[in-house]
């Protein structure tokens, strides 16, 4: 029964969720897109506080060592949001995407574990409609433009972790940045004299990166992790993004988790990204402002089957993140309030995680609010 349930959930998560990618935010139009979060549903529910330590997130390669046996996980995320920019408001926007998937496990009885994951590095999905008036043959003609982009930059991580001891784990990973977007430009003329135009194109991205990490557990109730990541230059063949190459940032992440009592765990993480050194040539036409970013998050988890307290843990979190791109000198930022829970089956061989987040984004002349529902399925055969 459990396995049939798991199979059904896997089908729903993968088969239905996977083909759909969509705009995560109005800020996704800027720069290379809206930054993705390579974190699990559990980490989301904890406000990102667990980012540097979570074995089901693709942030710290040393955390791979905590996947004691083969683990397959995937997440799906549905967003409902509205935004307002310069008096232009849009509401009722809904989309579903498939942000993270991972397979990880220990290599036989060795102290080495592997992990292969897929995550959205940046999302460039949007569908924008504008109207304008152009002068054609001496006559003003109303035109409606529609710009669609579907896809983004994906981060495929191949990582290894080495458990030096029960207290220290090291990890390293190679990141392959790839992905593509299908773009469409359409123009309709409000005049029967002019025929409509639709142009389509596929855009590919390519780049590489490496990351290293360490996790240390000095005491039974305290653990901390550090991770550093360096991404190379991203080759872009995107006419909608007039920069052929972009230097991607350094990412430094640190975090800890502390359990004052057995059933309560407090976690916190912080990340810094050197987007400001993206080395964008302004003459190329990318007029966005680019900033280094900080991201901090914290969360509390109460209970959970892994501590033997209950099958249904309670998670709450808070997260603050700066966004790297803004059309103005005003830096955009995001505040998330999150909560979540999980259900485990068959002695933790199948886990369903759920998280709900309220995202509040401001800055750069835009205001955006979103509800995000994330569901994750983890199977440990």
């Amino acid at each position: 029964m459990i396995w049939r349930t798991g199979a059904a959930l896997a089908f729903l998560t993968v088969a239905i969720g996977q083909p759909l990618t969509a705009q995560a935010s109005v800020y996704g139009v800027l720069g290379v897109g809206f930054p993705g979060r390579a974190v699990s549903v559990r980490a989301r529910a904890l406000g990102g506080g667990l980012d540097a330590l979570d074995p089901r997130s693709a942030v710290n390669p040393a955390a791979i060592a905590f996947n004691g046996r083969l683990t397959v996980s995937g997440t799906t995320e549905t967003t409902s949001r509205w935004y307002e920019v310069s008096g232009v408001a849009a509401e009722g926007l809904r989309d579903t995407r498939f942000p993270v998937a991972m397979i990880a496990g220990q290599i036989q009885t060795s102290p080495i574990s592997f992990g292969v994951s897929y995550a959205l590095y940046a999302e460039r999905s949007f569908d924008i409609q504008t109207t304008d008036t152009v002068t054609l043959r001496g006559t003003d003609v109303l035109v409606t433009d529609r710009v669609r982009s579907d896809g983004g930059i994906t981060d495929v991580r191949f990582g290894l972790a080495w458990a030096l001891s029960e207290r220290v784990q090291l990890g390293g990973a190679f990141h392959l940045l790839s992905g593509s977007t299908r773009e469409q430009l359409q123009r309709d003329f409000d005049s029967p004299d002019y025929a409509s135009v639709t142009q389509r194109g596929d855009v590919d991205y390519s780049g590489t990166g490496v990351s290293v990490g360490v996790m240390v557990t000095p005491s039974r109730r305290f653990r901390f992790g550090l991770a550093a990541r360096r991404d190379g230059r991203l080759d872009v063949s995107d006419p909608l993004l007039p920069v052929p190459e972009l230097q991607l940032p350094w990412t430094l992440t640190a975090g800890w988790t502390y359990a004052p009592v057995r059933v309560v765990r407090w976690s916190a993480s912080a990340s810094w990204r050197s987007w400001g050194g993206a080395d964008v040539d302004p003459s190329a036409g990318l007029t966005d402002q680019v900033f280094d970013t900080w991201e901090v998050g914290t969360g509390i988890e109460i209970g959970g089957s892994d501590v033997g307290a209950s099958r249904v843990p309670l998670r709450v979190g808070f997260r603050y993140a700066q966004l790297p791109f803004s059309p103005t000198a005003d830096r955009a930022r995001e505040i998330d309030f999150s909560a979540g829970t999980a259900l485990s089956f068959a002695a933790n061989r199948a886990i369903i995680d759920a998280a709900i987040e309220r995202a509040i984004r401001d800055g750069g002349g835009a205001v955006e609010r979103a509800w995000q529902l994330s569901l994750g399925l983890t199977i440990r055969p």
């Binding site: 109005v26 579903t96 409609q129 773009e183 123009r187 259900l343």
Partner: protein
């Protein structure tokens, strides 16, 4: 049960319908890239022009044009009806006709020049031997007062510049055709018009769909000493119109229209940067007349452009445009006008982008063909003065995947 409850949550979550399209807040929250529209006039695009005459003869046209008598632009219509019978049926027996009471002639008026005073159609008796071998001048002896059968006054209210259908009816006395018996019971008539100003009318023909002429004879016979009336109708056996010859086009011009109808073939070169690397959103031929448009005063000629499936000269097969573009590929040209003629050819040029093997040739014709002696004469690339051109509005390809013409 809990498991299925969770399945339901997952299904709802991932199965939500997407709603993405949102208004752009430009320029801050719009992609930098925008489609750019460009417009250019390609003056040397027409590289080789030809014209050929003889596609539709006047006696095969869907209308006959009759233009004012006494002017340079003059034409006359000729109609011959199928022979009438020399006897009528009374009961089950054929009886010879003893007397002809009258003839009733009906013609279909398609269009004509409005606001003309004193417009009348003059009906003449013609020899039944008239046929296509005759010329305009051959008719002169038969368009005299001595052959005049009737005059039909046309009120202005029945005239329109656009195609319509109205009947002109006249009744002639029995002896109107004194040689009816010698002519094998055949009637032939000629029509000319006269007005206070130059004018024209278009009449329906047997080839057209808007109504042809008809002849009805009202006759009497004797049935055992009792006079019996009978009527008999005949449709058209032959109809055509003859126009006063016009001067030949200049040697460096192309002609279209006239009788027999002429078509022009314009071959164009359009740069690959436009044809292969853009989306054409509008294309307009700018045709420069070599001389003012010839034709009946007050008339307009409907000029239409067609694309070709293959270009093998005068017998090239043209492509009928889709119904929604028929009107767009046509333009009305006023007689006497020497203004540049602008005709939309977007529906012709855009397929050139999708199929590069299509001949980049545009066929021009006056429609309906053969129904008017009006003629358009265009300057060509060989002409010394201003030349025809094509104006193209296009959007360069922005995305490498290409566009959809």
């Amino acid at each position: 049960m809990k498991a299925w409850w969770m399945i339901a949550i997952v299904a709802v979550a991932v199965g939500c319908q997407e709603s993405l399209t949102s208004p752009g807040a430009c320029p801050d929250y719009c992609p930098v890239a925008r489609l750019q529209v460009r417009d250019t006039v390609l003056g040397g695009a027409l590289v080789r022009e030809e014209w050929f005459r003889g596609y539709v003869q006047a006696d095969r046209a869907s209308a006959m044009q009759v233009a004012s008598d006494g002017t340079q632009e003059q034409s006359r219509a000729v109609i011959r009806f199928f022979p009438l019978a020399d006897s009528v049926t009374v009961g089950s027996e054929l009886q010879p006709i003893t007397a002809i009471d009258s003839f009733r002639l009906r013609f279909t008026l398609l269009k004509g020049r409005q606001n003309v005073s004193g417009l009348e159609v003059r009906l003449h008796r013609l020899p039944v031997a008239v046929d296509t071998s005759w010329a305009f001048a051959d008719l002169d002896p038969f368009f005299q007062d001595s052959t005049l059968l009737a005059t039909i006054v046309i009120p202005d209210s029945v005239l329109s510049d656009s195609l319509t259908s109205d009947s002109l009816v006249t009744v002639l006395v029995g002896p109107a055709f004194p040689t009816l018996a010698e002519d094998g019971q055949t009637v032939a008539v000629g029509l000319a018009i006269r007005a206070d100003q130059a004018a024209y009318v278009d009449l329906g023909t047997r080839q057209g769909s808007l109504g042809q002429s008809a002849l009805t004879r009202y006759a009497q016979t004797d049935s055992s000493g009792t006079p019996v009336s009978r009527e008999e109708s005949r449709s058209v056996d032959f109809d055509t119109f003859f126009a006063r010859p016009v001067t030949a086009p200049p040697p460096d011009a192309v002609a279209l229209g006239g009788i027999p109808s002429a078509r022009a073939f314009l071959r164009l070169t359009v740069p690959d940067t436009i044809l292969l690397r853009s989306n054409v959103v509008r294309a307009t031929l700018l045709l420069v007349p070599a001389e003012p448009t010839l034709g009946a005063p007050g008339d307009t000629l409907s000029l239409r452009a067609f694309g070709l499936e293959a270009d093998y000269g005068p017998k090239s097969k043209f492509i009928l445009p889709p119904p929604d573009t028929i009107i767009r590929g046509a333009v009305d040209v006023a007689i006497g006008s020497a203004d540049t003629i602008r005709i939309d050819v977007t529906h012709i040029v855009r397929p050139w982008q999708a199929d590069t093997t299509r001949p980049r040739t545009i066929l021009l014709a006056v429609v309906p063909e053969g129904a008017t002696f009006g003629e358009v004469r265009l300057a060509t690339s060989r002409s010394a003065g201003p030349q025809s051109a094509i104006r193209i509005t296009y959007v360069p390809l922005f995305l490498s995947g290409g566009g959809t013409p």
